[in-house]
Amino acid sequence: MTDVVFPALAASDPSAEGVVATWFVRDGEHVAAEQLMAEVQVDKVSMEVPAPAAGTVHLLVAEEAVVPQGTVIARIE
């Protein structure tokens, strides 16, 4: 089981909050390693989140829900 973590976009403010702007995978789908999983956003800056491993995806956070950087947003089994 691998955690997929909301990256630290705002390096100067580790506790900053952001959103998963877009999920590119659906809950229960299979992903390959490095496959594009999500685009996250803090203020106006966005970043892609590739899958850290291959496996089945379990999404933990909804699109547009506000979460702090560092939150585990999905798991890959």
Binding site: A21, T22, F24, V25, R26, E29, H30, V31, A32, Q35, L36, E39, Q41, K44, S46, E63, E64
Partner: protein, 349 residues
């Protein structure tokens, strides 16, 4: 002739991209294949394109092939034309289609006419990309679609993708085409994280290169009761409305995504209207003297008796696009206006 996307995709992959990323991937794969392809425009380098048309490309291909320019559209679009004449395959970006006024001569009098004026002896294999469309209060000079203006001028092909799949396939086709192709991408279909969320802006896109034929429409939704001919972001709205009306048992609408304006797939329009007998055109360009009239004329030139009811055209009325949100929403061809038109044409009420 139309094809449905599911037939063509034929893939079991779940790899999804936004329309913007799909467009960039198409460009990237062609640039890998052909060293003569390069991308030139304002803020296309480090910024990755104002609407993310070239995100990631500078890092991959470097500044010799992803080229930032001064604010000199006449010069750099003309430069692209000259480079194409010499056999390169440039992609030049006009940041907003609304800016065409400062450089249209190079586009319609040079890029589009050199092949003809030379009796076919000189080719201009270039792509002109440009962002179109409104809905986010960018005002009268930054919200237009203007595809009818371009389509009206002979000598340039025009493609208008509405989906991630088509965005990549049409880009690859456009680059490979030996003619000038204007590639018009609506900001609202790009899936930009800083614009209103659009679920239809993200979808499965095959990983390898593939083409979508230029000049061929697509049946986005098969139906019986009425033909909706549309393009770009309006395809999304039309599908939303059609799905809801079908679920409510009101009607079963067919939605045709034109995908190309030049050449225009008139066969697809005629084939569908021959079956349904009813036509609604949804077009985010201005109403008069434009695309929606051309679609209607396609039917009436052929056989007006195909129509069992008057046609409805849902377009921007002949006014500049207002800034205030409520005013802009009132002039755009949104879901409410599309639904009203469908009910009028099908229900007679």
């Amino acid at each position: 002739m139309t094809v449905t996307q599911n037939e063509v995709t034929g893939t079991t992959s779940t790899r999804r991209l936004t329309t913007a990323k799909a467009m960039a991937e198409g460009i990237s794969q062609e640039m890998e294949r052909d060293p003569d392809v390069f991308y030139i425009g304002e803020d296309v380098g480090a910024y990755g394109g104002i609407f993310s048309s070239t995100t990631g490309l500078l890092e991959r291909f470097g500044p010799e092939r992803i080229i930032d320019t001064p604010i000199s559209e006449t010069a750099f679009i003309g430069l692209a034309t000259g480079a194409a004449v010499e056999g390169m395959r440039p992609i030049a970006e006009l940041m907003f289609v609304d800016f065409f006024g400062v450089c249209f001569d190079q586009i319609y009098n040079h890029m589009a006419k050199i092949h003809f004026e030379s009796g076919g002896n000189v080719r201009v294999p270039m792509v002109l990309t440009t962002a179109v469309g409104g809905g986010y209060s960018d005002g009268a000079q930054h919200s237009q679609c203007l595809w009818a203006t371009f389509a009206h001028m002979p000598g340039m092909k025009i493609v208008v993708p509405s989906t991630p799949y088509d965005a990549k396939g049409l880009m690859i086709s456009a680059i490979r085409d030996d003619n000038p192709v204007v590639y018009m991408f609506h900001k609202g279909v790009m899936g930009l994280p800083w614009m209103a969320k659009n679920a239809r802006a993200t979808d499965v896109v095959p990983e390898g290169p593939y083409t979508v034929p230029i000049g061929q429409a697509r049946t986005a939704r098969a139906g019986r009761d009425v033909t909706v001919v549309t393009l770009s972001l309006s395809v999304h709205h039309a599908l939303d409305v059609a799905d809801r009306l079908a679920a409510d048992g009101v009607m079963d609408a067919e939605v045709i995504d034109l995908r190309s304006l030049v050449p225009l797939d008139r066969e697809a329009i005629l084939e569908s209207v021959a079956r349904t007998g009813r036509l609604v055109v949804v077009d985010e360009d201005y109403l008069s003297y434009g695309l929606s009239g051309e679609v209607v004329a396609t039917v009436t030139d052929h056989d007006p008796s195909m129509l069992r009811a008057p046609v409805a055209r849902v377009a921007i009325p002949d006014v500049p696009i207002p800034y205030a949100h409520g005013l802009e929403a009132a002039v755009l061809p949104n879901a409410g206006r599309i639904e009203a038109a469908l009910r009028r044409v099908v229900g007679g009420g």
